[in-house]
């Protein structure tokens, strides 16, 4: 049920493919959505050209959140980069910690203990749940369903409590560091985690009732923001955005890292490649994460070290080398490219955040012919976090 607008009043394409938009004509209007706007994910802005209530062209503007992490890291020792990286992505910071730690470990030749791999996997799945819960609230909210955000925020807070007791912090956990993790699971963690998971499952049931089995939500999202699977590779579409279009891409299974090869799961796929399908894939992926956490807590070795012996971090030098570490975060493939030159500082760090491809080029393409009121819903459905666009 793809939306078919009346194209009679649309701008003509010039020979070079650009649009012939004459603002003086009174037919078109420039509108800024963002950088302060509830329908924008994070601090980013869209410069929309609308004709009536339809978007005919959009330009994305980033830079409102630029803190220069990659450059900052070139002036910090390897251990000093550890507290920085989590800030590259606020809702799901742990991927930065993991990718950075794994890259450093590979180049420095450190083998983290097995148990730390299990705890790292646990943390990554906990972070994924949080990220999806935030998404569900945002996706529903962008279409006027405020109550879902309230419920998902509540259960997300419960998960933050678990994070707090495990890592010592709620948002920026700073727990996974080169060599392993900072500490073991606290006493009684498994049981409290199980209670939290049950509460999330219960809430997800409610969300399914009011969001996914909702005529209004379906009316507005089915068919919106369709991504042709043929665009996936040219546009670098990964993660749930791709899986919702029937492509079973999941780094956790395709190139298992940590202990994913020891967990039983299949990538969650959808079919329609529209906003509804993407939301549904994420909801089911969230349920998968709950299952994975249960598998991890049950299968984890009960004893053993969680931190490898590392050299004195105050003057830690790493031999020249380069590596790319990747993993499947809630938004797709996340990766760290790290170059070392034998000194005590990284020579270059490049962060591959999926938001970059999804929120800029892909969004600019998908947004054409979309009704203004659907722009927010479309943008949220791509699940992008601007801080990782502009590391």
């Amino acid at each position: 049920m793809v939306y078919q607008p009346d194209r009679s009043q649309y701008p003509q394409q010039r020979a070079d493919g650009s649009l012939d938009i004459d603002l003086e004509s009174g037919k078109y209007l420039k509108l800024w959505q963002g950088p302060q706007h509830p329908g924008i994910t994070g601090n980013m802005s869209l410069e929309l050209t609308v004709c009536g209530d339809e978007v005919v062209e959009a330009k994305t503007h980033v830079g409102y959140l630029h803190r220069g992490f990659e450059k900052l890291m070139e002036r910090r020792t390897f251990i000093q980069c550890f507290p920085i990286v989590c800030r590259i992505c606020v809702p799901e910071p742990d991927f930065n910690e993991y990718c950075y730690a794994a890259a450093v470990e590979e180049l420095a030749g450190i083998q983290p203990p097995e148990r730390s791999d299990w705890i790292r996997t646990l943390i990554l799945e906990m972070g994924r749940i949080n990220s999806y819960l935030m998404f569900l609230g945002g996706q529903a909210g962008s279409l006027g369903l405020g109550v879902v955000a309230q419920w998902s925020t509540y259960v997300r807070d419960l998960m933050l409590d678990r994070f707090e007791e495990l890592t010592g912090a709620r948002i920026y956990h700073m727990f996974i560091l080169p060599g392993g993790v900072r500490g073991d699971l606290p006493e009684g963690f498994q049981q409290r985690m199980e209670e939290t998971l049950k509460e999330i499952e219960r809430t997800l049931g409610d969300i399914e009732d009011v969001m996914f089995c909702n005529a209004v939500f379906k009316k507005r999202t089915v068919g919106l923001g369709y991504i042709d699977p043929a665009l996936f590779n040219p546009y670098g579409v990964t993660g749930p955005n791709a899986r919702a279009g029937g492509v079973a891409k999941d780094v956790r299974r395709d190139q298992p890292y940590l202990i994913y090869s020891q967990l039983a799961f299949e990538p969650i796929v959808g079919q329609d490649s529209d906003v509804f399908a993407r939301a549904d894939v994420r909801r089911r992926d969230l349920l998968l994460s709950i299952d994975l956490i249960r598998q991890i807590l049950a299968g984890m070795p009960k004893k053993g070290p969680v931190m490898a012996k590392i050299p004195n971090v105050l003057h830690w030098k790493i031999p020249p080398g380069e590596t790319y570490i990747r993993g499947e975060c809630s938004r797709g493939e996340y990766g760290y490219y790290l170059v070392t030159d034998g000194s005590g500082y990284p020579r270059r760090v490049n962060v591959r955040g999926p938001s970059y491809t999804h929120a800029v080029a892909l969004l600019e393409r998908l947004i054409v012919h979309v009704n203004i009121s659907d722009v927010a819903g479309l943008m949220v459905s791509l699940h992008t976090y601007p801080p990782e666009i502009e590391r």
């Binding site: 251990i79 700073m174 900072r182 009732d209 009011v210 050299p311 004195n312």
Partner: protein, 597 residues
């Protein structure tokens, strides 16, 4: 789309009947979790002000400031971390790296102030409501950001080393040394404690970098006896090493030795540089030990002409004649001495001041005279029988061994004393017994209990490995003789306590606990004093004294303007202290000579 999709959303209304999930009074009902990284706490009493927290902080949120009321002392800089919460990101790396574990975090997470400057505070010094919070982040036991274990030093096995005077400690290889050097956190507490203030963190860095020439240059800036000190220094630096608080201290002494081991002696001179042009001033030094030769080295570098008078056959003083070869090989000390003479220092051995030349002559012939005669006279317990010819003093025997004289090796001997000299003579005797009679029968009796031994713990340990019996808490009472007047043993009483309430030496004996340790020879190693007879009565009377030692001012000058004194004879036994003393008097003598010019 179905009818269900129209009705289903209304199920949200059921939440009307749910209890609210919000916490009514989060300040009281919801404390931070056990590991919460809240506001900092610092146990200022165990904090040593090493500043690793400041170094590791990537936000530059920590400044080391003078902690009000915190005494500065050995191993404590007196500085305490002040944290700026305008910069802090609560990553807790400062807690993780903290060398003593004094810095922790509370689980407190609310703090309201009107004055923004209040958020820059010194935990522990500025009292806060969370200072005694039981919960909060602490570094997990296993979580260390720097290695805590020392790289094991290779040693010759006891069975093999006991047969000869071969050096026991084998020294680090390059890879081992780098690993050990890596453990240093460069806090510099050691520099303050080292009597001669060696640039320890810098030369350790040169080991990490493999830049041994730079390392040697750094060593020679403060110590011309790195071959000696790299082996037998009392390493006070290691006792204050920040790494020693929650792990083993960095093997600073072995790293120093590693640097000198890596360079051939031919390279030394080029690295150290040449002396300044001659000044025409003449200085006499009495005693070619560490203090005298250090001063001679400095003075020669400054361009003065220096003559060292040494009573014995060879230069070296206490370290040649007091320390056995297995701890300090003669070759090693000869390197240091060779460099000193290469700077133009003339050493006249076999020249005893007081007999071969008088103090008065020295006074007349030279612009300045330095007395650095060490502690070569052994003390005696003067218990009954101690004047028997079979009773010897450790220093005398050690000297004879160093001079290569033949020693009348006893079948069974008892050593009185618990210091390093007692260990030295016991182990030397054990080696001689092993090579002459194949069997070791040496007993050491000490007043102190093992917890308060004056000897280094490794000496005690190695004694045990070499089959020497150490009996602690034994007070010597009498040397027992048989009817023919031959020594048959030493009678001792048990020591009940060794120190009084003020921690001063005041042994109390238990006469009931009496033992006789069989021996045909008893060696006293209880203490030493300097032989000041060379001064002559007139000079002795002229000089000011301080409780049995020559009184000197802060620069080592005696009450006689032309005479300085340095080393063990002024400060008591310690090789690196003697080196520091040598530098101090050399500077003062040079100052005086410049004024004279």
């Amino acid at each position: 789309m179905s009818i269900q999709d129209l009705l289903s959303p209304f199920t949200a209304w059921k939440n009307l009947f749910r209890d609210p999930v919000t916490i009514q009074d989060p300040f009281n009902d919801r404390p931070g979790s056990e590991r919460y990284r809240g506001f900092h706490k610092n146990d200022v009493a165990s904090c040593i002000g090493c500043g690793t927290c400041e170094t590791i902080c990537q936000n530059a949120a920590i400044d080391m400031v003078v902690g009000e009321g915190e005494p500065t002392g050995a191993g404590d800089s007196g500085l305490r971390p002040r944290i700026d919460y305008g910069r802090c990101c609560w990553c807790a790396l400062c807690v993780d790296i903290c060398m003593t574990g004094s810095l922790t975090m509370s689980n407190a997470y609310t703090w309201v102030e009107r004055d923004p400057d209040a958020y820059r505070f010194t935990p522990g010094v500025d009292k806060k409501s969370w200072d005694n919070a039981p919960l909060g982040y602490q570094r997990a036991e296993s979580h260390r950001l720097a290695p805590t274990q020392r790289v094991t030093m290779g040693e010759v096995a006891p069975e093999r080393r006991i047969g000869s005077f071969e050096e026991i400690v084998q020294g680090y290889g390059v890879e081992q040394a780098r690993l050990e050097a890596d453990r240093c956190v460069s806090c510099g507490l050691c520099i303050a404690t080292c009597p001669t203030h060696m640039s320890i963190p810098d030369y350790i860095q040169s080991v990490r970098d493999g830049d041994y020439e730079k390392g040697l240059a750094l060593l020679y800036e403060t110590n011309p006896f790195s071959n000696v000190c790299g082996r037998v220094c009392t390493h006070k630096c290691e006792t204050v090493c920040a790494a020693g608080h929650e792990g083993e201290p960095v093997a600073i002494r072995w790293l120093k030795r590693h640097i000198v081991d890596q360079l051939p002696v031919e390279k030394y001179r080029r690295i150290i540089g040449d002396p300044k042009p001659p000044t025409g001033k003449r200085v006499a030094v009495i005693g070619a030990g560490p203090a005298g030769l250090t001063a001679a080295f400095d003075l020669a570098k400054m361009g003065h002409s220096v003559v060292v008078y040494e009573a014995r056959e060879k230069p070296g003083g206490m370290f040649r004649y007091g320390i056995p070869e297995y701890r300090l090989p003669y070759d090693a000390m000869d390197i240091d001495i060779e460099i000193i003479t290469s700077m133009g220092v003339e050493i006249r051995c076999h020249n005893r001041v007081g007999t071969d030349i008088t103090m008065e002559q020295l006074h007349q012939e030279y612009d300045a005279v330095l007395l650095s005669i060490g502690l070569h006279l052994g003390r005696s317990t003067r218990i009954a029988g101690s004047d028997h010819k079979g009773v010897a003093k450790a220093v005398d025997l050690l000297r004879d061994i160093a001079d290569g004289k033949s020693i009348d090796v006893p079948k069974q001997c008892v050593v009185i004393g618990g210091g390093n000299v007692a260990m030295d003579i016991a182990r030397s005797m054990a080696r001689l017994q092993k090579s002459t009679q194949g069997e070791i029968r040496v007993t050491v009796t000490a007043l102190e209990d093992l917890d308060h031994f004056l000897a280094d713990p490794e000496e005690v340990k190695e004694c045990g490995e070499e089959g020497i019996a150490i009996l602690d808490s034994r007070g010597p009472q009498e040397i027992c003789l048989d009817d023919q007047g031959q020594i048959i043993g030493l009678r001792t009483w048990g020591v009940e306590s060794i120190f009084d309430e003020q921690g001063r030496f005041a042994p109390r004996y238990n006469p009931e606990d009496e033992q006789i340790h069989p021996a045909d020879r008893v060696i006293e190693a209880i203490g030493q004093q300097s032989d000041v007879t060379l001064l002559g009565e007139a000079l002795t009377e002229k000089l000011a004294w301080n409780r049995g030692r020559i009184a000197v001012d802060g620069q080592g000058r005696t009450s006689e303007g032309w005479l300085w004194a340095a080393g063990d004879c002024v400060n008591g036994p310690d090789v690196v202290h003697a080196v520091a003393d040598g530098h101090r008097v050399a500077t003062d003598i040079d100052l005086m000579l410049q004024k004279k010019r």
